[in-house]
């Protein structure tokens, strides 16, 4: 199974998420992660969808089906090597009195993770990185006990120098100030 990152640019309208995901559902393709946000252009949303699939051909067909959704402006399918990508994770770690103290230096310097909230009985640590880096940290911190763990979907930007405007030259984009 190969990981594919599919970036979909759409008009930001009600129900568009449903219109996109139903294309996956119908083909029984499981979505590993999904992130949606507005882009640098007003009214244009960017979906970053990660799936695993054994057939590149099937993913190419999927991409062409997504392109058929009327509100979709552009779709790109990427292999991991085509993109710079990251995720963000948050860990709630207990810090009871008498327990082994957290090694903040290792957490910061080795794992590039940061405590973002202190409480009397726990801390919240934020870690940004790839899935592998996050799970490396997960294994490191596990002995302390994990009260809660959450991982965001992937965000990714292609390494290609082209921008969306290159694909949609006719568009008159309104940029954020």
């Amino acid at each position: 199974m190969t990981a594919y990152t599919i970036c979909v640019f759409t008009e930001n309208t009600i129900g568009i998420l449903n219109k996109i995901t139903t294309i996956f559902t119908r083909r029984r393709i499981n979505i590993d992660s999904l992130t949606v946000s507005e882009t640098e252009r007003k009214g244009i949303s960017r979906f970053t969808i990660v799936i695993h699939h054994e057939s590149r051909e099937a993913v190419e067909k999927l991409v062409r089906q997504i392109r058929k959704v009327i509100e979709v402006l552009a779709v790109f399918g990427y292999l991991n090597e085509d993109i710079a990508y990251n995720e963000i994770a948050m860990f709630k770690i207990p810090t009871p009195i008498g327990a082994k103290p957290l090694d903040i230096e290792t957490i910061n310097k080795v794992h590039k993770a940061w405590v973002v909230y202190w409480h009397l009985t726990y801390v919240i640590i934020q870690k940004t990185g790839t899935e592998e880096e996050i799970f490396e940290f997960f294994d490191y911190i596990k002995p302390h006990g994990i009260l809660e763990f959450v991982r965001s979907g992937r965000v990714a930007v292609s390494k290609s120098p082209q921008t969306l405007v290159d694909y949609l030259p006719e568009a008159e984009w309104e940029y954020y100030q």
């Binding site: 759409t10 008009e11 009600i14 129900g15 449903n18 219109k19 139903t22 119908r26 051909e57 190419e60 067909k61 062409r64 089906q65 392109r67 058929k68 009327i70 509100e71 979709v72 402006l73 949609l168 006719e170 568009a171």
Partner: protein, 586 residues
């Protein structure tokens, strides 16, 4: 502050009385009708109900401009709109209320998307303040129809109406046509627009840009393959008729002398009389067309999508051939069959560009190959079916006699089942745009309303529909619509007292275990007469000619029931999962 989704809202927001439309500012319902008129709509197939009543109130004022036809079930409206669209090339329009009215359209919408039929369905919705409250007749029809519409949209503000309706028509008709559903909340129908009504046709969208003219290099690559071919073979799909490319197709096959076969929905795009026409493709298609698919060297598919009923086992389909695929929908390229030379564009445009690049050619020996198979099929299947020695009438005789009497010029609308396959086999189409049937979805009950819609769309043409006794009972109530309109739709029921196609499969693949396929039927003629439609039952071969003559001579709707052999099978047949070359003759 934590978000609390359990906060209840006061559901008792009073509905304000609808403001009265002024000459300057009109309400959403009037805006809707005016937008439809601006889009050239003359006919609406519909059915009223609570959530669409403001629109019906408005239609009352526009009866001169738009012909609203009251169907008997919303499924009938959808199929009628499809039949209308298929024959006229215009967008079919249907109108229904929310909830059950909208869900009754669903089968027709699913049928329209898979058969690329342009349609705009307008449905009412509960007031916007009631959305999500499980209000009376509230169905999330947007959610329901996402996978079966080309586009759908919910309007909650009357100001949006002109722009959205214009967009709906543009999307439905352009590129690969398809159904669009517009859901309009009741308050948006009632409220006044905040600005003067202005309808501008939509000509272009940023996100949706169908390609009409293919890329020149793609056309050149296709031309090269075709010019080098020794045994080229053309597959004519529905796209030829949708694009109106019948003339270009003739030029192509004549210039390069290529044999051409047709998919179910491509039928009638080339006349059966044309020397290069070699027949019908697929599961119940002709012998030669199927076998020789696996012997041609270049397969030229035009406006078709390699449906599994055409290809049989894909892994053994035309493996030896280079494939040229001319298709407007890029998602169809390589979806089922890999194309060596894809040509993305409208069939007419593509052929116009392709023809000048083609060499004049002769492929007589290759074309003659098809004849050899025809002779075998003729002897084993066609002749015995057309001139049977058995007592009971066979479907094939009825269809061929009808074909002769109408000189292959009628609009034929077939329902789904054995009678559909027999119609495709035995009607000899000689005029383009003459065959309408539910191909992709195989929707039983399609034909009666679709034939009515076709008659509305082409009042000057003879429209004859061929329906099985099972199918007929799925949309039988549309006899009422036909009777009320008075339009002379000619209806033939081929009555075998069976769900024949299913029975055939049970016979061939389930050891004749006939599981729930026998029908005890009503007296169809009495039913027709109850609707005010004249009819006749033909049970004997001697009576067939006269019965058909009488039906065709009638200037009113007419029902002819023909009692046919009960356990007849459709052959040839490529069983599911078999290879096209292994087509069975018995």
């Amino acid at each position: 502050m934590e978000f609390n989704e359990n906060q209840t809202q006061d559901a008792q927001i009073a509905e304000k009385p609808a403001p009265i439309a002024t000459p300057e500012l009109i309400n959403g319902s009037h805006a809707l009708i005016q937008s439809l008129i601006a889009e050239g709509v003359e006919t609406i197939f519909g059915y009223p109900g609570g959530a669409i009543m403001p629109v019906y109130d408005a239609i009352y004022d526009y009866q001169e401009q738009v012909n609203h036809i009251l169907v008997r079930h919303e499924q009938g409206a959808a199929h009628a709109a499809e039949g209308f669209a298929r024959i006229s090339g215009k967008v079919g329009v249907c109108l229904a209320t929310s909830g059950p009215g909208a869900t009754n359209l669903v089968t027709g919408i699913a049928d329209a998307i898979i058969d690329s039929t342009p349609m705009v369905c307008i449905v009412g919705q509960v007031g916007s303040h009631l959305l999500g409250t499980d209000a009376f007749q509230e169905t999330d029809i947007i959610g329901v129809t996402i996978p079966i519409t080309k586009w759908n949209y919910q309007i909650t503000n009357p100001d949006e109406i002109p722009e959205i309706i214009a967009k709906a028509f543009y999307i439905a008709k352009s590129g690969r046509p398809g159904p669009v559903l517009i859901d309009i909340t009741k308050d948006a129908q009632q409220k006044l627009m905040s600005k003067p009504f202005l309808h501008k046709k939509c000509e272009k969208l940023l996100s949706y840009r169908p390609r009409l003219a293919p890329k020149e290099d793609q056309v050149a690559a296709a031309a090269k393959l075709i010019n080098e071919a020794k045994k080229p073979f053309i597959l004519v799909g529905h796209g030829v008729q949708i694009a109106g490319a019948e003339q270009e197709l003739l030029q192509l096959i004549e210039k390069a002398d290529i044999p051409a076969a047709s998919t179910l929905l491509g039928l009638s795009s080339i006349s059966v009389d044309h020397p290069n026409y070699v027949g019908w493709l697929g599961m119940h298609g002709n012998y030669g067309t199927n076998v020789l698919t696996n012997q041609c060297d270049v397969l030229i598919a035009i406006g078709m999508r390699f449906d599994d009923r055409v290809t049989g086992d894909v892994s053994r389909y035309a493996k030896q051939a280079k494939v040229v695929h001319i298709e407007i929908d890029p998602a169809e390229i390589d979806k089922i069959i890999k194309a060596n030379a894809p040509v993305v564009g409208d069939a007419k445009k593509a052929l116009e560009m392709l023809i000048p690049l083609l060499k004049e050619n002769k492929h007589e020996a290759w074309r003659a190959e098809f004849k050899k198979f025809d002779a075998i099929e003729d002897e084993k299947i066609t002749q015995p079916e057309l001139a049977p020695t058995t007592e009971k009438i066979k479907m094939a005789e009825v269809i061929r006699t009808l074909s002769d009497k109408t000189e292959g010029q009628a609009v034929i609308v077939a329902d789904v089942g054995q009678h559909q396959m027999m119609t495709a086999r035995y009607y000899q189409f000689k005029k383009p745009n003459s065959f309408i049937t539910s191909g992709g979805l195989g929707t039983m009950g399609y034909a009666l309303p679709a034939a009515f819609g076709a008659k509305v769309g082409a009042p000057d043409r003879e429209v004859v529909t061929i329906i099985g006794d099972g199918c007929f009972q799925m949309t039988i109530q549309e006899l009422g619509t036909i009777a009320q309109s008075g339009l002379p739709v000619k209806i033939i029921i081929l009555n075998n007292n069976f769900l024949g196609m299913v029975r055939q499969w049970q016979q061939l693949f389930h050891q004749k275990r006939y599981s729930f396929v026998e029908l005890q039927n009503p007296d169809f003629i009495t039913i027709a007469k109850g609707f005010g439609i004249d009819g006749h039952t033909c049970g004997a071969r001697e009576d067939l000619n006269d019965s058909l003559d009488k039906m065709l001579a009638s200037d009113k709707p007419y029902l002819l029931e023909v009692l046919v052999e009960k356990e007849e099978n459709v052959f040839p047949m490529v069983p599911t999962g078999a290879c096209v070359a292994d087509i069975r003759l018995e």
